[in-house]
Amino acid sequence: MLIKVSIDLEDILPKYLENRRKEVDELKAFLASKDLDSLKTRGHRLAGNAPSYGMEALGSLGVKIERDVQNNDLTNMEGYIQEIENFLNSVEVEYVDEDEDW
């Protein structure tokens, strides 16, 4: 998956993505132990942070995690975490100048 990201974020995006990769195992552990508060918090942060880094797809998954935990619905939770993992494994970033049309 190719994503266009502002060249202004080139220095900080790799670290952000690395932190998200580390977080996947934590999300799985929170789900296994039914730690819903931690799941909800991580979903909320992902929803807030990811769009700032040009990762709207990740942000949407954060919204879904937060919403479903709030509704006590864990049916799709494993699927959301898998989608995050797939996204992080397949994402390719092209840095572009935002002043140009893109």
Binding site: I12, S52, R67
Partner: protein, 324 residues
């Protein structure tokens, strides 16, 4: 927190200002010490502490007791912050001096010059400046300002930190208080260092229902925020509109203390017709009336709900004001 360039000079500046105050103060001098801790539900945290000294205490809109008709003001301030936003840690400092002139209770202008510095992903600094003109006659007050500053306190993260995003804001404020009404209009236009530009308008009308020593205002307001380009790295809605009722109250509390309270209830929507609601709350308690030395403690909270997701911002703060 590491020592920054601005700090070593502060002691010298304070001493020279304290000496000058004795000779050049026509009104009481003013020392302000302040601190706050801001946090959001999506992991932003910002701790700040500041100090400012001015030879004449000044509030042009609501003058302090003993304010002179004409005065020459000057001051110095140091403001330090330590924060984490979008998973980036940073330190920020601002050292600033200013010079102001007041004419016949009607005109007041100030020129600010400062050294703004950040340490984080990249270390960088620049010269901050601002000029402002104020005019007051009877029930009309207006203020025009233009400057160059960082966007650290606009919460434009992460770009405010990693790219040290800066802005050239021009703003125009009008306050009109005919009879029991208070109308406010703020117009802000800004050009950002990444090529974006933004505008912000805040219109407010309140009615004074004060009784006795208690100051009570009720009314409503409308805010419009626009960005010319939808950039990554910070929140850049094409059009964001927020409106709703607003309340304000202040007055004596127990013993010699005073309280203040402000509440704005908002309904908002953006260019995608995405709706939400929220509120802004600010409560504070002051140890004495504003003309005498006093401590102030307060709490600021913003909360919004959109697509069933709750976002919140909280900021407890404290300050001490000393006059001599």
């Amino acid at each position: 927190m590491k020592m920054r360039i601005g700090n070593p000079y502060l002691g010298v500046m304070i001493l020279s200002f304290l000496t000058s105050f004795c000779a050049l103060s026509s009104e009481l001098s003013h020392l302000n010490l302040n601190g706050s801790v801001a946090e959001t539900s999506d992991e932003l945290s910002l701790r700040t502490k500041g100090l400012s000294l001015t030879n004449n205490r000044r509030n042009f809109v609501y003058p302090f007791d003993g304010a002179q008709s004409d005065a020459l003001d000057f001051g110095v301030s140091q403001f330090d912050s330590h924060g984490t936003a979008a998973e980036i840690h940073f330190d920020h400092s601002l050292t600033e001096v200013w010079l102001g002139k007041k004419y016949k209770d009607q005109f007041f202008y100030r020129v600010f010059l400062g050294h703004d510095e950040i340490e984080g992903e990249k270390d960088s600094s620049f010269t901050k400046y601002k000029v402002e003109f104020e005019y007051k006659k009877e029930d009309l007050y207006s203020k025009l300002s233009y400057g160059h500053r960082s966007t650290i306190f606009d919460y434009r993260y992460p770009k405010a930190i990693n790219s040290y995003l800066k802005t050239h804001p021009s703003d125009f404020l009008i306050l009109w208080t005919p009879g029991k009404y208070r109308a406010k209009a703020l117009f802000l236009e800004e050009t950002l260092s990444d090529g974006n530009s933004a505008s912000y308008q805040d219109l407010e009308l309140k009615y004074n229902v004060s009784f006795g020593e208690y100051w009570v205002l009720v009314g409503g307001g409308l805010e419009v925020y626009k960005n010319s380009k939808q950039f990554q790295g910070y929140w850049t809605p094409e059009t964001f509109i927020s409106f709703g009722p607003r309340f304000e109250a202040s007055g004596p509390f127990v013993r010699s203390t005073f309280f203040s309270f402000a509440l704005n209830l908002n309904r908002f929507e953006d260019e995608n017709n995405d709706h939400g609601q929220g509120h802004y709350l600010n409560v504070a308690l002051q140890s004495a009336q504003r003309n005498t030395n006093h401590f102030k403690v307060g709490y600021e909270k913003i909360q919004s709900t959109q697509r069933s997701s709750l976002w919140s911002f909280s900021r407890p703060y404290i300050s001490y004001n000393h006059f001599w």
